[in-house]
């Protein structure tokens, strides 16, 4: 799959933003007044910034409001609805904390639930696609949710939670990579089933339909070199898991080290999300002999 920067930024930053909102909604850290204001600004910058960047890949962003209508069947529509509910509820909850010094616990709980639901619906947009076997796995939502919670805990300053969640997200990520490497093969979709010619002999793409490129090849047939993919996986794992955990574990704890941990984790998460798209093999590539 073509790794579109807007979607990579959106999924990483909105995931972290909604993760932070989840922790704030549950009362960690228990802040009020200006401190709460600062936390909410960071959370909203990440969450809303991510959502806005996601509209950059739309062909017709001026019609984006229509995307709220099909929540009965579409995970993308559900994501939009959940995100708006989460942002409105958390804004009311945040107002209580910032301006009235009051923590309206029930509102925070509802906001936290919808924040997590937003991340879950985002992940289901990818998980539901049988056409992309690497994503079509229960581990995809587990990966998105654990990343979101880990990033949220990190920004919320919940050091113990952050260390545990980062470690968990790292394990899920590694399992997803390993499982994903065999996903296309295990899906049973091959050039033989794609053409229906498999029972006659071995099928080989002989001539493509056109000499130039097209939308399908640009969007779906992106191939990342195997060698680079392994290097990038290692770099991403070190940045998002190993370094942050070491930095957080370092005694004495300091905000400078915590900031470094955040930067390292986010950089690693961006690399991992780039791989999430770049390594995903769409079955349409089979028709072009690209798998």
């Amino acid at each position: 799959m073509h790794p579109a920067p807007s979607v990579i930024f959106f999924t990483v930053f909105s995931g972290i933003g909604f993760g932070l909102l989840t922790f704030l909604g549950l009362g960690y850290p228990a802040v009020t007044g200006w401190m709460a204001f600062a936390f909410f600004v960071i959370a909203y910058l990440c969450a809303v910034g991510g959502l806005i960047s996601s509209t950059f890949h739309l062909g017709r962003p001026e019609r984006a409001m229509k995307a709220f209508t099909q929540w009965r069947s579409s995970w993308l529509s559900r994501e939009g609805v959940c995100a708006v509910i989460a942002l409105i509820v958390m804004a009311l909850y945040g107002m209580g904390l910032v301006f009235f010094g009051q923590r309206w616990g029930l509102l925070g709980l509802i906001g936290a639930i919808f924040s997590l639901l937003t991340v879950f619906t985002t992940s289901m947009i990818y998980t539901q696609l049988k056409s992309i076997p690497r994503w079509n796995s229960p581990l995809t939502p587990a990966m998105f949710l654990s990343f979101s919670m880990a990033g949220g805990a990190l920004l919320a300053g919940q050091v113990r939670w952050a260390m545990a969640l980062i470690a968990i997200s790292g394990v899920i990520q590694v399992v997803l990579w390993v499982q994903g490497d065999g996903a296309l093969k295990n899906s049973g979709t091959t050039l033989a089933t794609a053409t229906g010619l498999g029972n006659r002999g071995s099928v080989r793409a002989f001539e493509p339909p056109h000499t130039g490129t097209n939308y399908l090849l640009r969007e779906f047939a992106f191939v990342v070199g195997r060698k680079h993919s392994m290097k990038l996986r290692i770099i991403s794992f070190v940045l998002m898991v190993v370094l942050p955990v070491l930095l957080l574990a370092a005694a004495p704890f300091s905000h400078g080290l915590a900031l470094l941990a955040v930067i390292s984790h986010v950089a690693g998460a961006l690399a991992s999300r780039w791989l999430f798209f770049a390594e995903a093999e769409h079955v349409v590539g089979l028709y072009y002999g690209k798998r």
Partner: protein
């Protein structure tokens, strides 16, 4: 509404005969022509006369080589367009309701004025039947020439999809799969019509007829032709200057 209908009154679709298709790409061109000049946004080309031409097509013809365990390899031309699936994954993912499957005839369409160009339907389609138009920024797909098949301004013989109408080999057939006595249902039953990627669970309406076995060249080797003995090489040994040269070079 992007929920799929439980059932459709009719199931209009195509039968594509892989035995008959000669790979001339006439269906590709007539499709591009009709769907650029008629319903919906035109199918754009970018850099059409430059070094990196690219365009939107709703129908493309691939060619595959099939090598059986024994015998000659066979070249099979393979036209591919939207299969108007009963369980169309492209429809349910649409966030705006722009994609829908019609209850009356089962055709899968895009309402271009509702499409936000997010591309998710093209991601969901395993067949690559949907293409985002680079100029109009909306999703384009085969309409089964919905503006031809019901068009009373056209002579009756033209009321079928442009690709079917134009195919010089008669490799494409249009009809109603819900009617067991229709031309397409009969063809599918007679020739063993098949689904593409059945494991994806899309329940495609369009059916592909497998090619009949063709080449028997390697059968009965040694008995190629009664005239073959007369075609044996006459001169087994080279003579004259060339013969001398051959022998001399051989010795070196």
């Amino acid at each position: 509404m992007t929920t799929l209908p439980k059932s459709t009154d009719r199931k209009l679709g195509l039968v594509i005969d892989l035995d008959t298709c000669v790979g001339c790409h006439a269906c590709v061109i007539s499709c591009k022509g009709w769907n650029t000049e008629n319903y919906g946004a035109p199918l754009s080309d970018t850099d059409a006369y430059g070094s990196d031409p690219s365009g939107t097509f709703l129908n493309r013809v691939h060619s595959y080589e099939v090598q059986p365990e024994q015998g000659e390899a066979q070249l099979i031309h393979f036209p591919k367009s939207c299969l108007h699936c009963d369980d169309a994954p492209c429809v349910t993912v649409c966030p705006t309701g722009a994609s829908y499957k019609r209850v009356e005839d089962g055709i899968v369409l895009v309402n271009e004025s509702d499409c936000i160009g997010c591309g998710l339907c093209a991601w969901a389609c395993p067949y690559g039947a949907r293409e985002m138009d680079a100029v109009e920024k909306v999703m384009k797909k085969c309409t089964l020439c919905v503006d031809r098949i019901y068009n009373e301004n056209l002579p009756e013989e033209d009321r079928e999809p442009a690709c079917v109408r134009t195919c010089p080999a008669g490799a494409r057939h249009f009809g109603d799969f819900a009617d067991p006595d229709s031309n397409v249902s009969k063809l599918t039953a007679e020739r063993g019509g098949m689904d593409l990627m059945p494991e994806q669970g899309t329940k495609p309406v369009n059916q592909y007829l497998p090619p009949r076995p063709k080449d028997t060249l390697s059968e009965g080797a040694g008995d190629i032709d009664i005239l073959a003995p007369y075609l044996e090489p006459v001169a087994q040994e080279a003579k004259g200057f060339l013969g001398w040269l051959d022998k001399t070079l051989e010795k070196l």
